[in-house]
């Protein structure tokens, strides 16, 4: 089936089997390898992307269901080649990762939180990432990274960046 996906500011038309998941379509048809398969049954959150700005499990969606929707993957958050968004930079500053496998999904979940509020409580942050499993960090430095990004964004005169146009 032919679907048009609005991904990271551009539009891509792809032919996919109806059974193809959005995750597989992004990775194998469009070549966006930053979205990862973890459990493929909707628990771990490694495949998290933003669909119309909201975090979604790309392993639980079919590509055909995303037709016409606006999608953001981790590749869409970098302002430019070699450049990091404030949130991505905060993950580096706080070392909010280790192996990096869950990181794209974690950052997109956090991006959606910070798009809603720049003054999240610790509980807000925990709730926002509670659907994303990380096996390396014990979450401490991830929570600190998101809090740091919020703090920096509160004091900045620029937006969150990301979602290249």
């Amino acid at each position: 089936m032919r679907v048009d996906l609005h991904v990271n500011g551009g539009t891509v038309g792809v032919d996919v089997e109806p059974r193809c998941t959005l995750l597989d379509c992004l990775r194998d048809e469009i070549g966006l390898k930053g979205t990862h398969a973890g459990c493929e049954h909707g628990v771990c959150g490694a495949c998290t992307i933003l669909v119309d700005g909201e975090p979604a499990r790309s392993c639980l969606m079919l590509a055909v269901q995303a037709d016409g929707h606006t999608l953001t993957t981790i590749e869409g958050l970098s302002p430019g080649p070699g450049e990091l968004s404030v949130l991505q930079d905060a993950f580096c500053e706080a070392h909010g990762l280790q192996c990096g496998y869950c990181t794209p999904g974690m950052i997109l979940a956090a991006h959606a939180l910070l798009a809603r509020t720049l003054a999240p409580t610790r509980a807000d942050i925990v709730a926002a990432i509670s659907g994303n499993l990380c096996r390396c960090t014990g979450y401490g430095q991830i929570i600190e990274a998101i809090a740091l990004a919020a703090e920096r964004l509160r004091g900045a005169n620029v937006g969150m960046g990301g979602t290249r146009r």
Partner: protein, 798 residues
């Protein structure tokens, strides 16, 4: 780190250089790799715990468009050598797929290769296998009995390892002690379960006779084992080590996956990709961790001093043996924990069963052993009516006793356990912790405090191999680093293993930068393929800070020495009279100086200015032997195991809602001493992550099999990993006792947290439920078990 530091880069907060590629989605994991023409594999697994494979009919599958091949275990076994196992049991053969007999539910039986993974899975459903079910054994004690059904009839029994060690006068100590006690604790079968499953891509080039391998692995001597199994020269297997590995913590060994993919790539003449899905990973990934029962006896006096211990540990390693039985060996190197127990008898048993095989899990058997020892410390305190903290303090090795030789032959390098405990207790406010526990109790909740003090043996050696396998006389477990300085003065450092989030590129650059007195950010770090590599034994056993950090430091010093020698030659003075600083060399007597580029230019261009006999260019390597390593065990099984011993002290306050049994952690404080910290953010992350992992083992995670050998917890819906909701905020209290054996005084920290958290959480729960007369003696302690036990204990009460 608030402590002053003697170092310019080491111990300072510096960003972890690896992080940029991960936060931007630009990392390259194995599933991202697809050489042109890649075909995809899917495995068919046995539905039975034990069965004879009568016949396999793949005709329908092979007739499907896009299907290239179906291969079964017999064909594979005929073309490959049995995989290596750690213990001396040559008749326990192991091939990637079952050949004739399947020994656990989930074992690979056949593989389909097709144009896409989806097609391979479709075709897999069309394979018809006729099985004849056979009797099976699941329980370790049943498997240990001489009349048990053997999982490998050729081997004759299920016993892979059955060794008794006696170190010191154990019987005498027991006879003399005023008190003895015995207890049994069980460590449930869990694992590290990385979010990325195993995966491999193998590609065969028949013109160059080269097998290229990209794999998600953390495996010592990986290429060696692939080459042996595939009957190839090791120089014909090129393992690409620049693959980002999505978590491992021990388990990502991937030998059977790679042998299968390598065989298929050669047979079919195309790249073959095998990426486990989660079900394959949980059932047939062969990555389960220890499932261990401890029977412990302690001999102690009125003051609570433990004088002797007898420990029997039996581990159910599943249907095949890799390195898993050796996980009973590593704890020999810290068998008394941080305590002055004078005599120990240790009986280590590993048996096969019709369950999924085990693999190395974070700590390599040390976390279960620590749990058994710490349970004993709590029991001794309880028996004597003493404070649990005080009993530990009395038993600790004192700071002035290091280096300290334990009965099993290992000498602990350094430590100050009393200081770490005092610091941690002061930080936590022991009295206020007790008051908070009592306040929670008064509010109607069950509340308890847990304590665990334990060691993290680090700097992995493989001394447990000769200890448990007399045919194995390995006495080195080296690690290497190479540094090249090019003609323009840029520095490239090569490391020779994969890594999985431990920040080895940052580590190596920091250590070399410290040695070279140059900003580590100037040092490019690359990962060689296995063919270009110096010897490495991969990041196992908390070794890389010590071993890679040490190798990088020594290599940096060799560069430095060369530059000083070149400068000395220009001036006709002795190198010892010169000062190296910031990459340049000065003569303190007259202020003459040659800068980095001056010296590099001489080495690369001006042979006529070099000292006679010196090699031109700047390329050095260092291969580091494990400090204190090199010996074989004595006949009574005494051996120096690992060189360095980190210490951690956990304090947990939790409470339990008596209606539902759910524990809630209110406070988690850990005192941590891993010697000199090289990168504070990395060490902190390891500690926090290890505690979260330990929390999972204590409360949530278990591979549960039913009575027919079927794995019940085979998805993330029922094998529960801790989420951000379950993991508490953890306060870390730092202490630094440098190791005398390492270049900066560093020790290991990769396993920290995990080694003590299960014992501490278990202790807290038992402290909470003690008023009800309940005791939990196995892990994990699930909410349901707590709730049921509380209900049973309070039945009939108003």
């Amino acid at each position: 780190m608030s402590e002053p530091t003697a170092f310019k880069y080491v111990s300072h907060k510096r960003r972890v250089r690896e992080d940029r590629r991960f936060v931007s989605g630009q990392a390259v994991f194995v599933s991202d790799i697809a050489p042109p023409g890649t075909r995809h594999a899917a495995v068919l697994t046995s539905p039975y715990a034990c069965a004879r494979i009568v016949s396999i009919d793949a005709s329908e599958a092979l007739a499907m468009p896009g299907v290239l091949a179906v291969v079964d275990g017999r064909e594979l076994a005929a073309a490959t050598n049995s995989l290596l196992i750690g213990v001396d049991a040559p008749l326990v053969k192991r091939y990637p797929m079952a050949a004739g007999r399947a020994r656990y539910a989930g074992e690979w039986v056949a593989v389909v290769v097709a144009q896409s993974r989806a097609l391979a899975e479709d075709a897999r459903e069309k394979i018809r296998v006729a099985y004849e079910e056979l009797p099976y054994v699941l329980d370790a004690e049943a498997a240990y009995r001489p009349d048990s059904i053997p999982v490998h009839p050729e081997h004759g029994s299920n016993v892979l390892l059955d060794r008794r060690f006696v170190w010191g006068d154990v019987d005498g100590a027991f006879a003399a002690a005023p008190h003895t006690m015995s207890y049994r604790v069980k460590w449930g079968r869990s694992a590290t379960v990385p979010i990325e499953t195993f995966g491999v891509v193998a590609s065969w080039d028949p013109w160059r006779e080269m097998l290229d391998v990209w794999a998600s692995i953390q495996m010592p001597k990986f290429a060696d084992q692939i080459a042996r199994a595939l009957r190839m020269p090791m120089s014909g297997v090129r393992v690409h080590q620049d693959v980002d590995v999505g978590g491992s913590y021990g388990v990502k060994r991937g030998i059977k996956h790679t042998v299968l993919a390598g065989f298929l790539a050669r047979r079919l003449g195309c790249p073959v990709k095998l990426i486990e899905d989660r079900l394959e990973n949980m059932r047939g990934g062969d990555m389960h961790g220890p499932e261990r029962v401890f029977d412990v006896e302690l001999a102690f006096d009125d003051a609570g001093l433990v004088h002797a211990m007898r420990m029997r540990a039996i581990d159910n390693v599943g249907a095949y043996a890799g390195r898993s039985p050796l996980q009973l060996g590593k704890p020999v190197g810290a068998i008394v924990g941080p305590y002055r127990i004078e005599a120990v008898a240790y009986h280590a048993i590993a048996v096969t069963s019709n369950k999924t095989p085990q693999e190395a899990v974070r700590g390599f058997g040390q976390a279960p052993t620590n749990y058994a020892i710490e349970t004993g410390m709590d029991r001794v305190a309880e028996a004597l009516g003493l404070d649990r903290l005080e009993v530990r303090r009395r038993n600790f090795i004192r700071a002035d006793e290091f280096p300290y030789l334990i009965p099993s032959g290992t000498t602990y390098d350094s430590g100050d356990y009393h200081a770490v405990v005092a610091k941690t207790v002061r930080h936590a406010g022991w009295e206020s912790l007790l008051a908070e526990r009592d306040r929670l109790r008064a509010s109607g909740r069950l509340a308890g405090i847990g304590i665990a003090s334990c060691l993290e043996p680090s700097g992995a050696n493989s001394s447990f191999e000769p200890l448990l396998n007399p045919k194995n006389t390995t006495t080195t477990w080296m690690e290497s680093c190479r540094i090249m300085v090019d003609a323009l003065g840029a520095i490239t450092l090569t490391i020779h293993t994969t890594s999985a989030g431990q920040g080895h590129e940052t580590l190596a650059a920091t250590a070399a930068g410290e040695a070279l007195d140059l900003d580590p950010d100037r040092i490019r770090v690359v990962r060689a393929t296995s063919l270009e590599s110096l010897p490495s034994n991969s990041p196992v056993g908390s070794r890389m800070a010590i071993m890679l950090g040490g190798a990088a430091y020594h290599a940096g010093h060799k560069v430095r020495d060369k530059l000083v020698a070149i400068a000395a030659h220009q001036w006709g003075v002795a190198p010892t009279n010169l000062r190296y600083r910031n990459g340049g060399v000065e003569d303190p007597n007259d202020g003459r100086a040659l800068e980095w580029m001056d010296l590099v230019l001489i080495a690369h261009r001006h042979y006529h200015l070099m000292p006679p006999g010196m090699e031109p260019g700047i390329a050095v390597s260092h291969i580091l032997q494990v400090p204190t390593g090199g010996g074989l065990p004595t006949p009574d099984g005494r051996i120096q195991m690992y060189p360095c011993f980190s210490f951690e002290f956990h304090l947990v306050l939790l409470s339990i809602d008596p209606e539902i049994g759910k524990p809630e952690i209110h406070r988690y404080v850990v005192g941590h001493d891993c010697g000199t910290v090289i990168n504070p953010d990395i060490v902190r992350g390891m500690t926090l992550g290890g505690i979260a992992h330990g929390l999972g083992a204590a409360l949530l995670e278990e591979f549960v099999f039913d009575g027919e050998g079927q794995l019940l917890t085979q998805s993330f819906m029922d094998y529960l990993l801790p989420s951000a909701n379950e993991v508490p905020q953890v306060e870390i209290v730092h202490h630094v006792t440098p190791s005398p054996h390492t270049v900066f005084g560093q020790k290991g920290s990769g396993e920290s947290g995990y080694l003590g958290a299960p014992a501490a959480i278990s202790g807290a729960i038992n402290d909470a439920v003690r008023p009800l007369g309940i005791r939990f003696e196995s892990l994990p302690i699930r909410i349901s078990a707590i709730g049921d036990a509380i209900a049973a204990a309070t039945e009939g009460q108003p």
